[in-house]
């Protein structure tokens, strides 16, 4: 059953630049040191259960989930805990972290028992396994998967969408995963589908990955899973846009995908779920695209969590001679974060490390809004970014809230298209931070009044 995909409003189509699309996934060699952050997910940081000097094995639990919205952290290799310290996160914050010194043996600890008969297993057992394996959304948001898969009682979910869109330019990690482990993705999809009890499972892939569409169609034959080909458009990988493209349902403002009976999950997360259930292996490695024109060899690597960015770049042969690197971006060029240090470890949600050369990068000096309206045409949430940015410049945050600034998904289409070079996304982020703070203060005041 394949229906035609819908076209969501707006969006852009940036230069794809997928340099590493034909490069098979390489296993990164063992490193002497791994810096494993205890907070790689949204929610409470994991609580360390090992101390300095402890011997650990690959796959052993280093930190337990620190709350309901949290995820455990596992050791990427065998060795000793050299330090309990902090490390730099992508957004500049200091995260609690453990430094593991490898013993070179890479001994695996006793794995969790494989649930071979998952087709008949209790969904609760499967959900518990996903929680224990520390799986989080690997597309970028890093929301703990087990929490996402536990809808509140009374909420019905009928569609599971696997996100193999990879609409971000330059990134090829999900593409390679679908080419090299299609069956793992499909078994992950079926496991997650069983947990949610859905009627329909769709793997959504953009039309620029025909090879992956062909392979996945073969892999799903004989299963109830569909593969849907979507047109090439950024930001199709955003939840709300993807749900509209696949099902035609519109997620209302301020609501979640569950409100339209959908759950969206990245293909890499689904494959990790498959691995955790079928092989009992927790999440301690992931596929990351290391790319950019300044690199000698752009590649897709399977990194252990905790490998530093500097190591990742070295493995790709470093920077070409005579090329000036202007920016290092964690993630893709549209939604990624520019980082200022290479001492950041690869985390569960690091889908890519991108280098931009001096020639590729344009530094804008913003000018006044010329009211051309290009941003209104590009905004996939149908907002008016130009007007919002003027309101925010004048600090009219309550007005911006009325104009639905909170619906902004920070996809960057408006800033990409703006001929005046205005920092529109930065303005939206500021307004969102202010509105969230004001709402928190208001709810705290309301609670205080109740007492």
């Amino acid at each position: 059953m394949t229906t035609k995909a819908n076209k969501f409003y707006g969006g852009v189509h940036p230069h794809e630049g997928k340099l590493s699309r034909r490069d098979a996934i390489l296993a990164a060699p063992l490193q002497p040191l791994y810096t494993v952050p205890l907070q790689m997910h949204i929610g409470a940081p994991a609580k360390a259960v090992v101390a300095k000097g402890d011997k650990v094995l690959r796959g052993q639990v280093l930190g337990e989930a620190g709350g309901f919205v949290s995820a455990p952290v596992h050791s990427p290799t065998s060795g000793t805990v050299r330090e309990v310290t902090t490390c730099l996160g992508v957004n500049g914050a200091q995260l609690p972290a453990l430094v593991i010194e490898s013993d070179g043996e890479d001994t695996e600890c006793e794995p969790m028992p494989a649930i071979a008969d998952w087709e008949n297993a209790d969904p609760k057992t499967l959900l518990k396994r996903i929680a224990d394996a520390g799986i989080v959304g690997m597309g970028g948001a890093a929301f703990p998967t087990a929490v996402k898969l536990s809808p509140p009682p009374g909420r019905e979910v009928d569609t599971l969408i696997l996100n193999g869109v990879e609409c971000e330019p330059c990134l090829t990690a999900d593409h390679r995963l679908m080419l090299e482990s299609p069956h793992q993705v499909v078994s992950g999809a079926l496991i997650v589908g069983r947990i949610l009890g859905v009627k329909r499972i769709v793997i959504a892939i953009e039309a620029n990955k025909q090879d992956a569409i062909g392979l996945m169609r073969e892999a799903v034959s004989g299963t109830p899973v569909d593969v849907m080909e979507l047109r090439v458009r950024y930001p199709q990988g955003a939840e709300k846009q993807l749900i509209y493209a696949v099902t035609g349902r519109v997620v209302p403002s301020g609501k979640l995908p569950m409100d339209v009976r959908c759950v969206v999950m990245n293909v890499a997360s689904a494959a990790a779920c498959g691995d955790a259930v079928c092989n009992g292996r927790p999440l301690y490695e992931r596929i990351t695209t290391v790319t950019g024109t300044p690199l000698v060899n752009p590649r897709n690597y399977k990194f252990r969590i905790g490998t530093l960015y500097s190591t990742a770049l070295e493995l790709c042969g470093g920077v070409k001679e005579g090329v000036e690197v202007a920016k290092v971006i964690s993630g893709g060029p549209m939604m990624g974060f520019s980082v200022y240090s290479l001492d950041i470890p690869v985390m569960k949600n690091t889908s890519g490390i991108l280098l931009l050369s001096d020639e590729e990068l344009r530094q804008f000096s913003p000018s006044a809004c010329i009211r051309c309206g290009h941003c209104n045409d590009a905004c996939p949430m149908e907002l008016q970014p130009g007007i919002l940015s003027v309101q925010i410049e004048h600090q009219k945050f309550d007005l911006a809230e009325k104009w639905h600034v909170m619906d902004c998904i920070e996809c960057g289409c408006c800033a990409y298209i703006c001929p005046a070079g205005r920092p529109l996304v930065q303005h939206m982020r500021r307004a969102k931070a202010v509105v969230i703070a004001a709402r928190k203060a208001a709810s705290a005041a309301a609670q205080g009044a109740k007492k």
């Binding site: 957004n91 500049g92 914050a93 974060f337 520019s338 200022y340 240090s341 530094q363 804008f364 913003p366 920092p423 930065q426 303005h427 982020r429 500021r430 931070a433």
Partner: protein, 276 residues
């Protein structure tokens, strides 16, 4: 001839009508409120908690507010307000704002190149700003744009400086600064500690050469006049030390606030936007 008579009669009738209307319906001017309004600074900064200077003056005239709530008022004008209201005038300590940071481009290191919106609050959202020290002045001029008196200048080496002569201590800069690096202090205090980082010295040293090193030399030289908050010295403004104490500071962090001379008028703020 007739038209002259008609116009004259209309004029007299309308004139009488206006006179009578004013006599019976006229609003009596509140002389006291007007007088008080003239004495207010007129910046409408909102520091008193009212909607503006006129609102506060009306409230005082109606007996709903006390004099002395305006932080921007000079002591002379406060005295005049008290005289007009017929209450005993209070002595007030003139205050000024001080940017407690030495981290300009010559002293503080930068960890990143920031090219986003030219505003400290925006810069804070992106990884907490580009400067190495997470307590210091970001120097993007949020305070300067908020100042109703044009008393804050962003120096070319990216640090905010308060011109004490222009500062009326309304506290707007203190409330908008995302780093909380601006403090209101008595104008008479000669020296201040130009550092805001409570971190340990080895941490500070990496990011700023102008930081307070926590050596306590000032505390030992003038006991009771300096308060140590962990690794950061602070002037005890109830008993401020003399300007001579600045000589004992090896980090040149305790120093006299730079004066404001006539030829040193504040230049245009970076970006040129100053809201009146």
């Amino acid at each position: 001839m007739l038209h002259v008579v008609i116009v004259t009669v209309i004029g007299i009738v309308l004139g009488l009508a206006i006179g009578l209307i004013v006599k019976f319906f006229g609003v009596k001017p509140n002389v006291l409120a007007e007088r008080l309004g003239e004495l207010m600074p007129g910046a409408n900064c909102g520091g008193c908690g009212f909607a503006g200077c006129a609102d506060y003056a009306n409230a005082m005239a109606a007996g709903k507010a006390k004099p002395g709530m305006c932080p921007s008022q000079s002591s002379e004008s406060l005295q005049q307000v008290c005289e007009a209201l017929g209450v005993a005038s209070e002595e007030r300590v003139p205050m000024t704002a001080v940017v407690c940071c030495s981290g300009d481009d010559d002293h503080a290191s930068r960890r990143a190149f920031y090219n986003g919106v030219n505003d400290c609050v925006n810069a804070m959202i992106v990884a907490g700003g580009a400067k190495g020290c997470v307590f210091g002045c970001l120097g993007l001029g949020t305070c300067a744009r908020a100042c109703p008196f044009g008393a804050i200048e962003i120096l070319p080496n990216h640090i905010a400086k308060v011109h004490a002569e222009l500062c009326r201590a309304c506290g707007k800069c203190v409330s908008v600064c995302p780093r909380k690096v601006i403090k209101l202090v008595p104008k008479a205090a000669p020296v201040h500690v130009f550092c805001n980082s409570p971190e340990k010295f080895p941490v500070k040293k990496k990011v700023c050469t102008g930081a307070c090193i926590g050596c306590r030399k000032c505390d030992k030289a003038a006991p009771g006049q300096i308060v140590m908050n962990g690794f950061l010295a602070a002037v005890n403004y109830d008993n401020p030390p003399s300007a001579a104490l600045a000589a004992v500071c090896p980090a040149k962090c305790l120093r006299v606030a730079q004066g404001h001379s006539a030829d040193e008028a504040p230049a245009a703020v970076d970006g040129g936007q100053r809201q009146a």
